[in-house]
Point group: C2
Chain length 390, copies 2
């Protein structure tokens, strides 16, 4: 019995070793896999056969590795069978993304809503419908959805799958994973953390950066050497509540002068003379900016300055290599980028040889939902045995 347990544990570890190598190195022959992992060729062949049977890996052709011997068949991760669902509840939209095991995005569904005026149950119901239709389409493409991750704008209780506190949604202690009732396991994670992972896996190609998610709320996710930094309880990255001015405007969080009071979507719209109903998306402020409206331009410069102040604190504390601005800061970058960079240079330039460069994410508001799907893929690759047991 104990020996069987040990054998299973070893097989699980070796399956993860082989799949992890294909994930990081790309297509390889069995001989190369044996060389890299230190496992015997027989063991590798058995493991690869299991992974092929489960649809995680596919043979894609013959290559001649060296001078001698028969050509080997190259195997690689297969995108044809296994898929993950990334879900997002944000203040003004719902999103679903289906990504296959090779990290190709197979399906995108986004729905504009105003979740500040809705009950959690209704919001979750809408998202469930969106997700179930996406899963049906995925099945038609021959994909099998093995799990999902849901991105929410606020700290979460990972164990209970609950939103701990999302002041911008007005949600507190909502057991959202259970309410969703999807036909696969769903984990709930913080939107800003997932957006950073989305950037890592689907975005800029960097492995060291602080990703800033500008939305109705502002969050950040720090990636250091390809890994997300989450702090002691998974609540790290609350950039929106970093202090810009200690006696500034009151914030929903209970503090004063937090970054969100200067640079969130609502703060921008209201500083530009709009009303909160204009805040449904940022097209209103973009049209004002493109028309050269001085109030809108000044609102962006002030937001950029505030973002620079908060980021200079963040850079002093966590020392990121690059700042990646995502969410609404993507389209707004032409109007905020200079103010951010100038503030960083004036506050940090004297102490540092290199002030971290500020770049734009190309993923826009899609980053969190992609990161959510990518997180499921990452877990399959880290523990393929969990799938093979079924």
């Amino acid at each position: 019995m104990a020996q069987a347990v040990r054998h299973d544990a070893m097989r699980a570890r070796n399956l993860a070793l082989v799949l992890g190598e294909l994930n990081s190195s790309g297509p390889l022959t069995r001989a190369a896999l044996s060389e890299i992992t230190g496992l015997t060729k027989t063991t590798v062949s058995k493991l690869v056969a299991d992974l092929i049977e489960a649809g995680l890996v596919v043979e894609t052709g013959a290559v001649r590795d060296g001078e001698r011997g028969r050509p080997g068949m190259v195997v690689q991760i297969s995108g044809a069978h296994i898929a993950a669902v990334g879900l997002e509840i944000n203040v003004d939209y719902l999103a679903v993304r289906v990504v296959d095991l090779s990290r190709t995005v197979r399906l995108r569904r986004t729905q504009a809503v105003d979740n500040r005026r809705a009950q959690p149950g209704d919001v979750v119901g809408l998202l469930r419908d969106l997700a179930l239709r996406a899963v049906d389409e995925a099945v038609e493409m021959g994909l099998s959805v093995v799990g999902g991750v849901l991105a929410v704008p606020g700290p979460v209780d990972l164990v209970r799958g609950a939103v701990h506190n999302a002041p911008n949604l007005g949600w507190r202690d909502v057991p959202v994973a259970a309410l969703l009732e999807l036909p696969f396991p769903v984990q709930v994670e913080n939107e800003a953390n997932l957006a950073a992972l989305g950037e890592l896996w689907f975005g800029c190609g960097l492995s060291d950066f602080l990703h800033v998610s500008g939305e109705i709320g502002i969050g950040a996710g720090l990636v250091v050497r390809g890994r997300l930094f989450q702090g002691s309880h998974g609540f790290a990255g609350e950039l929106g509540h970093v202090v810009v001015s200690p006696e500034g405007p009151a914030c929903r969080c209970g503090g004063k002068g937090c970054l969100e009071q200067y640079a969130s979507q609502d703060a921008l719209v209201s500083a530009a003379g709009g009303t909160l109903t204009s805040a449904g998306d940022i097209s209103w402020i973009l049209s004002r900016l493109e028309a050269g409206d001085t109030a809108a331009v000044a609102a962006c410069e002030r937001a950029g300055w505030a973002l620079g102040v908060a980021l200079s604190s963040a850079i002093n504390l966590v020392d990121p290599d690059t700042i990646v601005l995502g969410g609404i800061y993507g389209p707004l970058f032409p109007w905020i980028g200079d103010a951010v960079a100038a503030t960083l240079t004036s506050r940090l330039g004297q102490m540092r040889d290199v002030v971290p460069p500020v770049v734009v994410s190309r993923l826009g508001t899609e980053a969190a939902a992609l990161g959510a799907a990518g997180q499921v893929i990452q877990r399959v690759i880290a523990d393929p045995a969990a799938l093979l047991q079924n």
Copy 2:
């Protein structure tokens, strides 16, 4: 040849495995070591013999592990032979600590100086004398010093062993490790990082905390699950330059309204009506506080508020479990602690079930030099083979 290299690498790895287990678990029999590491008893016995011969491990008595068999001899890390030196250059003192491999502090030497008025070469000369006398005393105790780490107040160039920029010392690009010319290798690291490690290894017994070093400058070191977080370039933890008020007093760093302008030793002394010559140590301000001087009390309350503002940004960004106040904040805690805690509660209490508690370090200004010595010990334990080769 290739096989010999591989054998050496395996032996090095196994030596580290055995010593690491003794470090984390305490005294063990060879049989227990074999069980835990998965190495054969013969291999373990050979490795332990090598570690004993090198003076890293010692036999300390017989125990009977189970029902059957002969009693086994317990082995443990030996403090009798190998020692490390922790060095510190701070603005107003130099410090040397000698710590043995079992992490017992064997020797403490501190010298008050005013390094703001001295040339780097003179400061380094004084520290060298202090260190050489300490090493002589260590040798008389039968200890062999295998290496040192030097703590400096500012970002460092780890590769060159140079102080990158220490505005409070007025140093820029000083190759301090080379200038020291000690008879053992010395690495240079940031004081605030080492103080956090000192707290981890010699202090509070916690493994998740943000340690704040209050000195002439203010730095912080974040420990998450027993590991120091250093950021992408090793410059993380510059809490002293987190923004308290964006248009506040000009800071030496080039910014405005940084925490150091409100809560550093100099800021406190000057807010309490003292002169910078009173800033040599904090006994002046402590005597005023104990006499109930209202300016001194108000200065501490203001410093505590500013520390609370900066820490609330830090907590939002990095999510530490506990805040440990070190350096001058230890003796000043009765006068600043309430203001820090009240500010954290008012800024964070509404968003979080638990606001990180604020506790005092018992190590005082000794934390960095102890962390420096502990860092050397940690490296010996991670790679004992490097010592055995000699």
